[in-house]
Amino acid sequence: MPPPNTPEEGLVSAPTTTATLALRPITRDLEMTAASPPTAAIPAVDLRALEYESNVDENLICPICRVALVAPVITNCDHVFCQKCLVQAHTLNPVCPVDRQPLLKLSSETRSAPKLVTNQLDNLTVRCPNRMRGCDLVVARSLVENHVSRYCDKTLVPCPHPSCDKTIARKDMAKGCLHYEVSCEFCEQAVQKADLETHQDMECLNRKKDCELCGAEFVRSKQEEHTKECPEVEGGRPGGRAIGRAARRDDDAEGEGPAERPAHQVPREPGLLRPAAAAENLSNMPLPAAATPQETAPYESRDQYFLSLFETMESKVERLSSALTEVEGRHSMMLFNETMPIKDQLTEIRSTLGVLGMHVRWLMNFRLQERGRVLGSGGGAGGANSPSLTGAAGQETGGGGGSDSNLPRRLSENMREHPPRL
């Protein structure tokens, strides 16, 4: 298929962004009309069955189910449990499971755990529960439900055929009912059309696969023989098949060049991508002809391909905006933390300045008074004498000057007697 918008590729990214924004409501509408009845039928994600990407902190684990807390509640004795776990334990024995303090009524003696705890739980990264069906996404726990129920290609939804009551992966929705048997072209086993891809990828004994350890290629049925001779095996085989497959797919994706990555790889550090950068990526988006076979295969028409593209972008934008708000929040918190001490210092400096000013005024005042007194007496003496007696007057002022020069010493004596109050 010729890439339809190749000539426009040179355009600035701005129009593309507006186009996406303008299209956004439409994709939403389409999704609403096309996918909302099946969405309702998708079972909710069981947060307890999720596979966490890294080890969860011991403090975030429910002591009853030993899994990262789900809907945590805290008792009056400060112990945290999953709400469901505590309710179950409470029906058997109305005490706190940890310290056996009586808990007569759950509603009055427990409350939901602090926001801090729920935030930490929300940020735990989990693998998509459809991993066994090929979705390798790693996502924050708070977003996984949304991903599975609305975006994940591998989610099982009811078969679109009205008289068929089976389920099918979302990506194959548009292909109609695939629940008829076909025979696998490699092993001739009868497989449901809907399961054919998974069968060939994961199970079919006559398909070739690469060894996760040494990279050698062999037919799957020869797995055991290869394990014996594989140069990399030491003791037990580390890593399951699924992990090996995921790693291999990552390698494949890297081989196709970085520009194509965003199309089928969900960014793991969404906080780093600015909206402008995202828009740029959009304009570099691979077109059906350039995309990986895995990406193009399920889409029958170009419209569908673009629709799925829009959905991916939409989910990406959603993730980005949530990351942005998070960053914003952290930023303002940081700013606040930094300005607070500065403000404190400022007030301190201001008060010190005030005290200093007081001192200076006090000193100046004292000095002025002193001088005023001396000048007053000197002037009075000078005024009393006639101008002809300038010599005497000069002596007088000279005396005044002498006392004036004594001022500092007296002042310091004075200071010692009445130290300035701070």
Partner: protein, 153 residues
């Protein structure tokens, strides 16, 4: 997967890696019944040099409800002498009854409690009425209403 199986799976992977000294995992082929061996490590003359076998049975409600824990008798695996342990292996321990159990407990903590219960014991005899109880009891250990009258041991 229910709460119980998920948690038991986690417990199993943990105790397959490490267990406190004197406790060893013997058999855990499924998530219904596990066998563990315990030894009393200090030089308590009643239990020195002996190994005892504990049998855990997990109901559907575990860990909300307590597991059933008894000693089982085999060659080289006697029932330990203790004023709270009947000669058929049933253990009278409040921790294992519905009222004393807490879902925070786990297999490892129960083993350690039993280990310390043996370690601290000085009385080399069976509970009162042991012969009667052993011959007449048909109830499951969990359903027996023990009367926790004796807190000395």
């Amino acid at each position: 997967m229910s709460l119980g199986t998920k948690r038991l799976g986690k417990e199993l992977t943990k105790i397959q890696k490490t267990l406190p000294p004197g406790i060893t995992l013997v058999k855990a082929d499924d998530l219904q019944e596990w066998l563990l061996d315990i030894q009393v490590l200090d030089q308590n003359p009643i239990y020195a040099g002996e190994t005892y076998r504990l049998k855990f049975r997990f109901g559907k409600q575990y860990p909300i409800e307590p597991p059933e824990v008894v000693f089982t008798k085999q060659e080289n695996r006697p029932i330990p002498m203790h004023p709270h342990i009947y000669s058929n292996g049933i253990i009278c321990l409040d921790l294992l009854g519905s009222s004393g159990w807490s879902p925070v407990q786990n297999v490892e903590s129960v083993c350690m409690s039993i280990q310390s219960m043996l370690t601290g014991n000085t009385k080399n005899h069976r509970p009162e009425g042991d012969a009667d109880f052993v011959s007449t009891n048909k109830a499951r250990p969990k359903d027996i209403e023990f009367y926790y009258h004796d807190n000395e041991v």
